[in-house]
Assembly symmetry: C2
Homo-oligomer: 237 residues x 2
DNA sequence: ACCTGAACACCGTTCAAGT
DNA sequence: ACCTGAACACCGTTCAAGT
């Protein structure tokens, strides 16, 4: 007898042995498709054609799986920032840092669930530290003291990794223009200033193709404002 | 027979009827004490001396409970900002906004779990919109166009509510000075720039009483940098 | 060494029944 | 109207057993 089994069924793929790497990649795939709240050990096992208990030979538990997905995302970021060609930080630290951050951002745009999972981790992963080490390297090359670089990390916060807290999230409701108009009417009473802001934005973009906010534009506006403030303090120091 | 039961046991408090308000206050109390991950419907019921199923007469389910805790926190913030006496925004929008934000921050410092729960809500609660309406009101009084006010909300992000993404969270490990030194040694190899930054910070604060970061100082530094950048753009507009 | 089935101790929630 | 007990359909995880 050959060691191969199930030869009668050609649809059965030869079994690839389970590994930590395969488990984590499957976890990222599930989060990409259904969101992180849909990630269960049983579902993850099913995705891999295996029983749930087999996972525990490769990861410590569910929390370790989430830690692992952050690892995968950060690795993707590190690979991306390594390839981008930006000005040397000695010549133009702002352009160098800007390029790094916007490159990292692209990865998070492909994995929109990742910020929430990253923030939910109790402790700072070494991969995040490694990424931030590169940020500090750029600042140092640009003439920052360690102290001012430290300030800079705090000012940037999650923006250093390319994402920002959005307090204003799309409602998802208001599918028709009429609903939107009714919603606006209601808001004008309770929230006159927000309503005025919304009206002004709609005026600038009458088709509303962008929705209320162009996230990329807002992100870059905020980033440039911060980089300018940091450069001002660096020059004064 | 009187309707009162259990008169034999004087420790049994007369039963206060359950209400949405009581349920949500108990939920906040549990989150304050044990963290939001420890909040379960069964535990919440026990805290209220009731069966789990009774809760469903006052809240739709667990997600509604979390929505409700955000409501409670935002109400606390609104009460706090109403009482603070700050410069009129017409005279000094920066001072007025700064005072509002630092007041909101105090509430989050009393409920450190709240940012994560607030961010986990899929949609923007009306209470957050009400708070931001006040922020926009200050900006408008300070001479901002609706458009620039919109930019400002995005730049501030969660900082408008008084909290910021901290990517660098205290490890909790390294309880002894020796452990910390060993940790530093290890970091110097993999993360030379972060390690240098850490060393510089320790040098400035040899007792290490503040830990690595003085959060309040960093928050205000970042806030002031942003307010300055916004004022510059307002003046130029 | 790697995988599994059955079981345990939890969850949120439904439902029919009590008062 | 408000509360409850039993039950259902899930979880993550342990353990002893298989190969």
């Amino acid at each position: 007898m050959t060691p191969r089994t199930d030869t009668d069924d050609p649809t059965e793929r030869p079994r690839i042995p389970l590994s930590r790497r395969r488990v984590l990649r499957a976890a990222v795939a599930i989060a990409d498709r259904d969101g992180p709240e849909s990630l269960t050990m049983r579902g993850l096992a099913q995705e891999l054609g295996v029983e749930a208990m087999s996972l525990y030979h490769h990861v410590a538990g569910k929390e370790a799986v989430f830690d692992g997905t952050v690892e995968v995302i950060l690795a993707e970021i590190m690979a991306a920032v390594d390839e981008v060609d930006a000005p040397s930080p000695e010549d133009d630290w702002r352009a160098a840092l800007r390029a790094r951050i916007l490159t990292a951002r692209e990865v998070f745009l492909r994995h929109r669930w990742a910020p929430q999972v990253l923030e939910s981790r109790g402790t700072t992963s070494p991969d995040v530290v490694a990424y931030l080490d590169g940020v500090v390297a750029i600042l140092r090359a640009g003439g920052f003291s360690f102290d001012l670089a430290h300030r800079a990390l705090h000012v940037l916060g999650s923006r250093a990794l390319g994402f920002a807290q959005e307090l204003f999230r799309p409602d998802g409701a208001a599918p028709t223009a009429n609903d939107a108009a009714a919603e606006m009417e209601r808001m004008a009473g309770r929230f006159p200033n927000i309503a005025g802001m919304l009206a002004a934005a709609v005026h600038d973009d009458p088709d509303g193709t962008l929705g209320f906010c162009d996230d990329q534009f807002e992100f870059e506006f905020a980033l440039d404002l911060i980089l300018e403030g940091l450069e001002r303090r660096r020059a004064a120091s």
